[in-house]
């Protein structure tokens, strides 16, 4: 008994120091922070952190203490769901930015849905993520079935390819994207000279040999830059200069480094994030990211930043609508779904009835001598409105 009383009083003493007058509002991120995908998940976390740092003064003025709580999903659906349920139980958390993998996003958003906790995805392109029609699930990236056909159109119209080799990384992201590309290409009568997935991260010699044998005009690879980079390096090493096209997983300054100066040509990717030189905000973002985290910003960092910015703008709007008092989760969820947000790294964001981004410009970037330059831009629209 004595012990309990003693420890209780110690706890109370500890607590006195932490008591604060301001109301705390938190937003959470769910992304892999440990394990093999931690570099991507950390980018999302850091991007969101940067947005929170920028917006904290505005919240302070309204009397709120804004904080970011990062959760690690270990790229594992069960861990992600557990994190989501924990988040749902924390009443101070009003919005979630996440996740990296759609395998985590799908069950996690379902676990958040009953408590009307809004989730904005910076990375999930799988169609199923929003096809379920959850009120709380939104995303700022283009769906597979809008990004895929755009990539396919680029291959046909700009690269004039008649024969395409389609690869994917056997993850929900890469395979979903590649499948949409293949469907669009087939519909337009382009020959698919090969289509396969590979989990291999290092040795692509058998695929390179097959590409050499079938001589496609272009290669589409749905996947993440650190796998595709190694692939392109081996492809170029074998003397194949065929253009390689990919999705927003290729958006990384690391890609040219991995491929190497000599081979970093003729690589294209589609993304909703504006090229650095096109937007002054993007330059500021890249600089402050580098300064804050001692690490260059990649695509996922920019998406994390954008997703968090949308969240925070929506939060501010909901606070104002609620007479400068903390809004309920339901209000935040509805405000974000209805609002229009300008001035992001990826342009203007507004969501349709299921949480897909209404219309966006998809930029096609071209890596030339190690630098990503704008090749062309295409408008994309989600299938629903």
């Amino acid at each position: 008994m004595k012990k309990t009383a003693l420890s209780l009083s110690v706890l109370a003493a500890l607590a006195l120091g932490t008591a604060s007058a301001q109301t705390t509002i938190k937003i959470a991120t769910i992304s892999p922070l440990s394990g093999g995908q931690s570099n991507l998940g950390t980018q999302i976390r850091n991007g969101a952190q940067l947005a929170v740092n920028e917006y904290a003064p505005q919240f302070k003025k309204l009397g709120f203490n804004l904080q970011l709580v990062p959760y690690d999903d270990q790229a594992d659906p069960a861990t992600g769901t557990a994190a989501a349920r924990k988040i749902a139980a924390d009443n101070q958390i009003l919005a979630v930015v996440g996740t990296l993998n759609s395998g985590v996003a799908i069950p996690a958003s379902a676990a958040l849905a009953p408590s009307n906790l809004v989730m904005i995805s910076p990375a999930n392109t799988a169609n199923q993520v929003t096809d379920r029609g959850l009120a709380n699930m939104n995303r700022i990236v283009a769906r597979d079935d809008s990004q895929g056909p755009a990539g396919a159109n680029f291959i046909m119209d700009n690269l004039k390819a008649k024969k395409v080799y389609v690869l994917n990384d056997k993850t929900a992201y890469g395979e979903g994207l590649a499948a949409e590309v293949e469907k669009a290409l087939k519909a337009k009568g382009v020959t698919i000279s090969g289509s396969e997935g590979t989990e291999e991260k290092s040795d692509f010699s058998s695929i390179v040999a097959k590409i050499k044998l079938t001589r496609p005009d272009a290669i589409y690879f749905g996947g993440i830059y650190n796998q595709i980079g190694v692939f392109i390096k081996q492809l170029r090493g074998a003397g194949i200069t065929t253009p390689v096209v990919g999705g927003d997983g290729l958006d990384s300054s690391e890609l040219p480094t991995i491929v190497g100066k000599a081979g970093a040509n003729n690589i294209y990717y589609t993304t909703v994030a504006a090229p650095l030189e096109a937007l002054p905000a993007a330059k500021t973002f890249a600089a402050s990211f580098q300064k804050t985290f001692n690490n260059p910003a990649q695509g996922f960092g920019a998406f994390g930043y954008d997703a968090a910015t949308v969240t925070l703008k929506g939060l501010l709007e909901a606070i104002r609508a609620n007479g400068n008092k903390a809004p309920t989760r339901k209000m935040v969820q509805d405000t974000i779904r209805k609002g229009t947000y300008k001035g992001l790294l990826s342009g203007e964001v507004s969501f349709n009835s299921v949480g897909d981004r209404k219309a966006a410009t998809l930029y096609v970037m071209n890596i030339k001598d190690g630098k990503a330059v704008l090749e062309t831009s295409l408008p994309v629209k989600p299938p629903k409105n």
Partner: protein
């Protein structure tokens, strides 16, 4: 498809598999040697190996602007990786395995898995301090060029001949194979021709009797871990040179395949590990191109087997071989003592 196109293709696939196989073979040696003396699957070896790759990366990075000869840089990278990985392996044995000698076999196995997890995060942390995750090798100029491609160079005829039969390799591939063969020769000499090797073999055959013969088995076990770790370091640098990019977690997959190679060849057997590694490299590549053969022969089901299955190819081959030869290809069939 005509033969003139198909033949170079097949040769290319097999040569690519063999080069990969040499990397597997040297990793597999690290597993098989440790297994030979301790009967322990050293799960941490995949991280010992990737530590070598990280050390190699650091050496090439530090020396990238120095005018030093490329081969000298390579030698330096190999040496440092061997020392670091070797010592790391000895340290692991001292701290994590030696206190468990005599415990049931699962106990050190779990420790090995634990050490492997620890090392992954330590490596990520160390490189993360400098803001790096994916480590891309900066190779000396010329390593990425085609082997004997320059017209007029003395080996151009050889290069032309190789290319005409489909062997299209880069200089770094040749370096890889040469380094691998040299390490194998040195290892073979050490194990079979020196007193140290004799002692190690004695310990791995029967530790107690070896002890009675005056062999300090603990020292021999340490020596084995040192040699195994050094081989791990070599394979790490070779892996880095060949594929260019590694990270703290990328040792796991090749580690598993290399261990499979060691089992396939007969665990504990050094030639077995090499044979297993080469075989698995080739098999992995052949499975990856199965669909081409399927299309050619008009077999639909074969046509669906492509690179997405190449990861499990080694395991299926392993099952098939172990069913017919339960001790692996070159493993000795042990008579059980009752």
């Amino acid at each position: 498809m005509e033969l003139s196109v198909l033949l170079p293709f097949i040769v290319n696939v097999i040569v690519g598999g063999l080069i990969l196989g040499f990397v597997y073979a040297i990793i597999a040696l690290g597993y098989t040697m440790v297994y030979g003396v301790l009967q322990l699957i050293n799960f941490a070896h995949s991280e010992v190996f990737i530590t070598g790759a990280v050390v190699g990366f650091e050496i090439f990075r530090i020396l990238q602007d120095s005018p030093m000869n490329g081969y000298l840089k390579l030698l330096l990278a190999l040496m440092s990786a061997m020392v670091v990985s070797g010592l790391l392996n000895v340290l692991i044995e001292r701290l994590a395995y030696r206190p468990l000698r005599g415990a049931p076999r699962l106990v050190p196995l779990i420790t090995a898995i634990g050490v492997s997890l620890i090392l992954q995060d330590v490596l990520r942390f160390l490189e993360g301090l400098q803001g790096r995750f994916d480590l891309t090798y900066t190779l000396p100029a010329g390593f990425g060029n085609k082997f004997c491609a320059a017209e007029g160079s003395s080996c151009a005829p050889l290069g032309n001949f190789l290319r005409s039969v489909g062997v299209d390799v880069q200089l770094k591939d040749v370096i890889l194979v040469v380094v691998a063969l040299v390490s194998l020769t040195v290892l073979n000499y050490v194990v079979n021709r020196t007193r140290l090797g004799k002692a190690i073999r004695a310990v791995s055959q029967d530790r107690v009797t070896a002890g009675l013969m005056g062999i300090d088995s603990n020292r021999m076990i340490s020596a084995t871990f040192l040699i195994g770790g050094a081989l791990g370091g070599v394979s790490g640098v070779l892996f880095g040179i060949k594929f260019g990019t590694v990270n703290a977690y990328s040792g796991f997959d090749p580690g598993i395949i290399a261990f499979t190679a060691a089992v396939l060849g007969g665990i504990g057997s050094i030639p077995g590990a090499v044979l297993g590694g080469l075989l698995l490299g080739v098999i992995q590549n052949l499975i990856g191109v199965m669909n081409i053969f399927g299309d050619l022969l008009g077999i639909d089901n074969l046509g669906t087997i492509d690179a997405s299955y190449s990861k499990i190819g080694p395991f299926i081959v392993l099952v098939l071989i172990l069913i017919f030869k339960p001790t692996g290809l070159l493993g000795k069939s042990n008579v059980e003592k009752v």
